[in-house]
Symmetry: D2
Subunit: 266 residues, 4 copies
């Protein structure tokens, strides 16, 4: 029941300059609001819809940019990896490494990540039930790592749609690990545009509020100064200039629900 | 953005005495918390899983009990009907009549209800998308009634499960009518017990919180002094003795989210 | 493992003349193909999307047309009803009365239908799992009627889509009653057009084939001489001039799969 | 409209001896039935539920066994890979390499596979709509490979269930590539057992029949002499001694539906 943290940043590292600019804004806002903060960005988007989609700077160049952000702003980092061989390098620079949702069942990747000793943020696959996440936690524990976080990001609901099952947060809390909510990817409309996912960023505040009302560890989000021009997942990205009121509202919801006495209704 | 109202009561009118006892508790709690309140109970459960399931006292006897509750406690009433011929009688006693979810597409029922002039609470069918509710609103308007309320109660998600899509609240708000959340039926596990629906009442507060975080008109709920012995939908019912802390928490969430300045993220 | 029967006809009784013309074509084709045949048409579409949608001639006029068809072509009849009071009249004229999918949980309707002694065709609701249909069968049996048929017509799959779960046929066969497949309504795209359901009639033969491959009692279908102008569910209707090759193919599939020796793979 | 082919074999290479024994049986049966045949087995199960689940002999040892099977029985081979670096080695031994469903969006893997020039069998992800598969086909084409096959294996339907949407076969046929049906994995009940997927092998023949009734390129299946003791996916595996009647039935369905004249119903 500690105050919520924010894993926030941008989707893919479009450029060093943009990354620094976005990080700076997050740092300013989260300091002002007194919210513990971790900067998030991807060095590679490894599962875009098209071969010619923008993927990012790659591991080496990407980690360099992330390291510069860490030094400049003195913030912890999170990034996602896609192959076992990337785990060690990513964990050297980043405090938290992230297991992507589609890959969350890949044993070698899970094992390589666990063995770094870094904190692991496990994205819940769109095809898994909340109670099934225990198997992935278990894999990490068996590999000797119990510094684990589970992150909800929506469940496949028919074709080309995601739904966030609010009951899932309570089910996953039972595992004893912190639960985060990726409140911007959960806005995706998979396959919603001719060659990439669509999104519903106009509902960003509403959906985040519902998740944070569940009394969870924190919020994962991506923002962009100009979502319409973002190189990946712009349709889901929060406009960067709305970050402060967005987080201020969510912090208020978080504080309120964490002030409630436990209410047993069974 | 008025404070939330509560349509609350019991599932089926098990007996006059129990109904009076439950109504009294709701009245006491909602007065203490200063929450506008409407008493809800059904005179007939017309779609139980089994022919021998308890159905209730029927229209005449049921309306008599409801009338007594109205007089005793000076509260408005809501009840659900299932056939066109019941509309007029129900509307004479009740302030709001409710269109059941499974029946929400039945034109004759919708028309008969609309023509009473009573306020209509339209339960969203488990098989309809939020944006499809406009057709049912439209049917009522064409029949000359625009005193309408939409009520979310969960969507079919695979077999034997419901999910509440939080994005649906915002989509339905666009229609311009008040949106309620039936936060206890949405806990159902359809077909979850050998001869009736199961439920997840242990998550009653969590799910209601998520819905109320969306800034909606109010909450619909059912409670029972002994859910394990309730004659219908006990697995979803809030234990009556938890009503006060449950509503106090939700009122706080409602007040908080309605205090927020609008946040445009499109 | 008797040869498949066909419950076939039109959606709503648009006019006496069209009904006779369509019935004649079905009779000619099914006689030629030696397929046991029951004529189907609705006297009222009681759950259209809009109040102004065409509904049909109503009970009295509709039963008159159906009776004329029965006399003219010497075929058994099936029609669907929507309220308990219609059961007796419909059962006097029709050999089979049909319980609509959305209404399949309404106890009074089920009971009234069961008590006529007529054969009942139970449409599986879009929100029920195959194994849950046992409750509805049970209600009929308790009401003294075991002349029952179950009819698959697709399951809600996300918003605005239906899917037919082929495993459901085998699960429902275990109940010991004949299983039919409504192969044209299962093509619906609910809410797919601005004010009514869309459909995928271009896939009519493919979907029917899959269902008939399961070795079931028969096929339910609707056809129209000009689907684009049909007053209801045209997007799902088979073009009437394709009836003969369509049924010839399905009869061949049915005969083939029913010639197979049982194959236990458990 | 060529006769159906079979990609058949076992889940994971449990041992050299078992692989040879299973391959021999497939070869005998498919020769007898005159069905074009490709042997399938995995050298590594890279996404088991648990870290301690059996995974197989690994790439080097696995390819050795596969090569021996190829030489012994003179059959083409298919195997699945999980990381880009495995593509070249697998393609040297196998005629077809398979892209796993969960990994079907991973660009580097798709690209590495495409660049081998081998035929690629693309498993449709449980979280993708049929029409979205065009993006994956496109990625392969852009990487210079158009020797592609799409393979249906079921879609996520609520929690812990898969459904096969028969309409998807027709939608995917429009892409112009051969469509296969993985009729045993589609029987999975994801998360259905405490530490692994359950399955419905008792319905193996029924589900395969529905898929083959769609007039597709062929069937993908896994069998085991003792499914209850299989080291992976036994709950879905066909008992090996049922292979001949199972394939004989499906071949008859395939021949029948491919003999039909095209039937335009749009």
């Amino acid at each position: 029941d500690k105050p919520m943290v924010v894993f926030g940043g941008m989707n893919v590292l479009e450029s060093r300059d943009l990354a620094l600019r976005i990080a700076e804004h997050y740092v300013t806002v989260t300091e002002k609001l007194n919210i513990p903060y971790v900067f998030k960005a991807s060095f590679d988007k490894a599962n875009r819809s098209s071969l010619t989609s923008f993927r990012g700077p790659g591991l080496d160049e990407g980690l360099k940019i992330l390291e510069e952000i860490k030094k400049t702003f003195n913030v912890p980092l999170i990034t996602d990896i896609h192959e076992p061989h990337q785990a060690a390098a990513a964990a050297e620079v980043c405090d938290i490494i992230q297991l992507p949702a589609f890959l969350s069942r890949q044993t070698d990747l899970v094992k390589a990540m666990a063995e770094t000793g870094a904190v692991i943020n496990i994205k819940k696959a769109q095809f898994l039930a909340p109670h099934e996440m225990k198997h992935i936690l278990h894999k990490c524990e068996e590999a000797g790592n119990d510094r684990l976080i589970l992150c909800e990001r929506g469940t496949a609901f028919g074709y080309n749609n995601l739904v966030v099952d609010m009951l899932g947060f309570s089910i996953m809390k039972e595992f004893g690990y912190p639960i985060m909510f990726d409140a911007t990817h959960a806005l995706q409309v998979p396959g919603g545009r001719s060659d990439s996912a669509g999104g519903r960023r106009g509902l960003a505040a509403q959906l985040a509020r519902a998740g944070i009302s569940q009394g969870i560890a924190g919020l994962f989000l991506e923002a962009h100064p100009n979502p319409a021009e973002a190189k990946c997942d712009g349709p889901c990205a929060l406009p960067l200039d709305k970050l402060e009121p967005y987080l201020a509202q969510l912090k208020a919801v978080d504080e309120l629900v964490k002030s409630f006495a436990p209410l047993q209704t069974d």
